[in-house]
Symmetry: C2
Subunit: 419 residues, 2 copies
């Protein structure tokens, strides 16, 4: 086996555990020096390849690489940059191939969502066609849990755990204040197209009286009257109402609620905020005192409370991607296959990249309760295993000891990229 | 010593550790059965006394009481209800005395902020004047850290830890996205009048390039131009800018920024949200892509990441309050006295309740950097010890195993309260 270098890149929105996948890739590559030389990581994702900004991970100690497993976000930098189709932008693919050849790269590990898997597939095809074959292996990652062919996506379980804990805790808070003060609490969570994250908050509810009382999914058109009636019913019955709303909920005309006409003093459309919009709706129609929170990046970067199973799977998928490459595989992505929910058991599977692109893993209709305001037992059975275990990072002076990499770039071999 | 019962109540906004104080009170009382009979907790705070809704904590197992130490929010219910002055509302105080006498209550433990300490002081005075003396001991609690005579307040350290961890994690997230996407992130935190909570986020910054880059304090008038210039400078230098803003920041005319003219489609004033207002300001003036989060109740209920020292102090103050009572003390509050910052050492002190009322523990001017946008080393030295240690709750099925009390009310002795 000829020794080739590997290229690894992080893509799209980062997660609490994407660096655990990076750790799995690099540690496994280091265990196989006869096949894989250096692992070069793209500075800011695929842009690092286009710009020939390659981070030499061989300069990083084993201890530093191990610390990636407990460090959130993208340690090498990520990017939102989608390579166009081959016909629209041959130049970008040519550049990629030139950089890969210049640095003797024979393995391409792309850690991202659906678009990234599509890109990895294209790179594989092009590399064949130009006679410099590169083994391209995708590594799944997305908090949205919307990749097909894998039971779940690394990053999602930790967001799910964060969101469920947050509404559990805030629910107890509102319950203790409701006699004389706040009666309604609204937590806005991510999920523009699918309700996976909002759904996961439902795990916090063990009995009907507990938070969250109402979950608003992007899959269910939002009707203010039905919503307010449900809020009132919960306040009447339990004294308070704790709500989790997906940022992606739409009104019955299909418009995002977060863009439903709020304007500032100068008449500018006000940006975002499903939670304040819902709060306004409740206060105007029902007169209850409301509080609201928006988790935003906190939910996807909350490594301090990541699910142990999520960290483990993220690492395993990175490690398996390298093993796939060593086994001669190409244009595939390792997946999570669920063997059993109770007790939870999983193993690594495999899917061809060409199948992954342009498909979404949507919430099954039978995961949403018939009234549209909560999850079903089937949904709970699916979600519950994914938030198991706590994988606490080490702490120094009261704060998590996350690693920050000093990026050592590989010497350039090519002229600057004009892209 | 005659056996008397004790009354314990939680007051005002709840915290991640107020139940640890309750645990300290009840466990210590149980260790002294020759002096203290039952501990009755007010259902929803002082309202429970007025309404004669007394929770009989003797029905709760030792295991349940111990679990209070790791359970956030007010397990017995809290309330926002300030007793008026004696002259304005003699009837309320008469009722309190009637309830206390009917249930042989000789000890009053009031767990709250400044107003609550004032009430405890008044109850002590009245009980003397009506010839039914009650020993009234205050127990400090407030996330705002604004009580005088105590180095810090239970509840604050855990919020401080949560906020510092949140901006640390979100800062890493933005750093990895900034090359092609979000360049500015804003986290809104509590603190309407004092910047203690916002200040604590500053602990996350170890070097100037790290988050938070900018902290906005209520003590510093907000000027959009200076702010935007600072944001631009950080984006130019570090590629991104992570900001923590207190909900209480005001413009140069003294108006809350959260009420600065946003209107909805119907012309209603839009409620709250310093973070979205700042986000709009940055996007309009600088054109950077922004993300924002509002922690709201999540920050004060986040028992999952409470500071161990905060839990320990909350428990100790509850326990000491009972010991004060057993020692014959009255109209006092135990306090935290700092003996040393490095290494951190503290002990329990004591202050008369009459001194506590109507005083605020404000941020010293030399805790805010001269440009108004960050904390000073003196501030860091004060804050750092308060977030030390992790006191993780137990977990079941991936979620914290918080206790929920079944409230068993003591049999009524009096007619219903007309208040």
């Amino acid at each position: 086996m000829t020794v080739k270098n590997a290229f690894y890149a992080q893509s799209g929105g980062v997660t609490a555990v994407i660096n655990a996948s990076a750790c799995g890739v690099i540690e496994t590559a280091r265990q196989n020096p006869k096949a894989i030389g250096n692992v070069y990581a793209g500075l800011n994702g695929i842009l690092g390849a286009l710009r020939e900004e390659l981070i030499d991970t061989s300069k990083l100690s084993a201890e530093t690489i191990a610390a990636l497993k407990h460090t959130p976000s993208g340690a090498f930098g990520s990017c939102r940059y989608k390579l166009k189709g081959l016909k629209e932008n041959q130049a970008e693919y040519d550049r990629l191939m030139a950089v890969f050849q210049a640095h003797n790269i024979g393995y391409f590990f792309y850690n991202g969502g659906g678009d990234s898997q599509d890109t990895a597939h294209k790179v594989s095809q092009i590399s064949q066609s130009v006679g410099y074959p590169i083994q391209c292996i995708g590594i799944p990652k997305t908090i949205d849990n919307d990749l097909p062919f894998t039971d779940n996506c690394p990053g999602f379980g930790s967001v799910a755990k964060y969101v469920a804990i947050s509404i559990l805790e805030a629910g107890l808070d509102v319950a203790s204040m409701a006699a004389t003060s706040t009666k309604v609490f609204i937590l806005e969570v991510m999920g523009r197209h699918a309700g996976w994250i909002a759904a996961s908050s439902g795990l916090a509810q063990q009995t009907p009286g507990q938070a969250p009382h109402i979950i608003l999914f992007p899959e269910v058109p939002f009707d203010p009257d039905t919503f307010c009636a449900a809020v009132k019913q919960h306040v009447d019955t339990y004294g308070y109402c704790a709500i989790v709303a997906s940022e992606g909920i739409k009104d019955t005309n299909g418009n995002f609620l977060s863009a439903s006409g709020l304007k500032d003093a100068f008449g500018h459309a006000q940006l975002g905020g499903v939670a304040p919009t819902l709060s306004q709706c409740v206060q105007t129609n029902l007169g209850y005192k409301c509080h609201w929170a928006v988790s935003d990046y906190l939910q996807r970067s909350a490594r301090h409370i990541a699910a142990a199973v999520d960290v483990e799977q993220a690492y395993a998928l990175g490690a398996e991607a390298v093993k796939f490459a060593l086994a001669g595989k190409n244009a595939v992505m390792p997946t999570i296959v669920r063997k059993s929910s109770k007790p939870y058991a999983w193993e690594i599977g495999e899917v061809a990249l060409e199948k992954v692109a342009n498909q979404e893993h949507k919430m099954p209709a039978d995961y949403i309760r018939k009234d549209g305001f909560h999850i079903t037992p089937a949904c709970r059975a699916y979600l519950e295993p994914l938030i198991q275990g706590e994988a606490y990072p080490p702490y120094v002076k009261g704060l998590p000891d996350y690693v920050r990499l000093a990026h050592s770039l590989v010497e350039r071999q090519l002229p600057e990229w004009g892209g």
